[in-house]
Symmetry: C2
Subunit: 190 residues, 2 copies
DNA sequence: GTCTATAACTTGATAGAC
DNA sequence: GTCTATCAAGTTATAGAC
């Protein structure tokens, strides 16, 4: 299937938002990047600049929320759940690094109504993630570190993947996963 | 010593850059925040908006480069050096969370000449940090993980501190340090 | 050192021809 | 669906009075 022009526009926008940041990215520059189109014509494919940001932010939020739902539903130990969550972050980051980077870095430019919705979803995700860590601690599987410190250390630890990891590099997805398990889980486990 | 107006302006700017991002922060809003001053009058205290960003980015870069220089000069094991580096990041983050957040997130809006200089300094820092990890691996003190994965996991792990850590909270600096050592070093050590 | 006024420019978005 | 033309609003920064 060939990409529709709308898809091309949205993908180019995500790249531009990643490279320059949402606020520094102009519709004229987006048009240049899509090629052979004027900025005004972009409005046949999108309603506004913010609509593109909204789609990126909420599509990724949904990916993470669906993912953590599956992890919660699985009948496994806290350690296995934590591994599955790290795998989820790696998978989403490698599946579409551009999109997830914009999601990570540009959500604050959502307008107020959407920003509130987004922050509520993020808070929900973080609390469910933290609950898994807390269960592990109370069961004695994890060390008695502060759950917030463990949570944010793990959450931010996977945010560099897009910037550094390229499959072409001589490091495999398996090595990436196992090194991250070593670094992030071995410190936590009893 | 009372703060000079210049200091007040630069501090308010850093706060504004942190909250809204450099590109979304306007000189008019900065003036409102400083209070009882018009945007045009700010130019008696700064040469340009970018001058403020430059000062923030290069002051922090210098803090990290001086810090890693001291760590390198110390005659200690890779594990102790790594602990000292984590302590360095925590100290800088807690000492001035606003400034270090702008340094972390807004450097890309430096104009070309300064951007190149900044990126060279960052690359220097990362390579010296990585060299310490590599020494630990080759000496057998650390596990044979990929040095880049370890480097970026550690570097990004301390970036949430500003957003979450408040000394008023019922968690001490000592607990923060020891939990981060547990999480970040225990996974790496043999 | 602060003000008002404004220059010079860029921004997101729309109207209407084709 | 794309174009040209344009609007209205916002931007950084400067000039010159006080």
């Amino acid at each position: 299937m060939a990409k529709t022009k709308k898809q091309q526009v949205f993908e180019a926008a995500a790249e531009l938002f990643m490279e320059k940041g949402y606020m520094a990215a102009s519709m004229r520059e987006l048009a240049d990047r899509v090629g052979l189109i004027q900025a005004s014509s972009l409005y046949n494919h999108l309603k506004s600049k913010e609509e593109v940001l909204r789609k990126i932010c909420f599509d990724n939020a949904e990916k993470f929320l669906i993912g953590i739902g599956e992890v919660e539903a699985s009948d496994t130990s806290p350690t296995e759940k934590l591994k599955a969550l790290i795998r989820l972050h790696i998978r989403i980051a490698i599946d579409d690094p551009t999109s997830v980077t914009v999601f990570n870095d540009e959500w604050r430019h959502l307008s107020e109504h959407y920003l509130q919705d987004f922050l509520a979803k993020r808070k929900d995700y973080e609390q469910r993630f933290k609950a898994i860590i807390e269960t592990g601690i109370s069961q004695g599987a994890f060390k008695a570190v502060d759950p917030n410190i463990a949570l944010y250390t793990i959450l931010t630890s996977v945010r560099w993947i897009h910037y550094w990891y390229k499959p072409a590099r001589n490091i495999s997805l398996e090595k990436l996963e196992s090194d991250l398990f070593t670094l992030l889980i071995q410190g936590l486990e009893n």
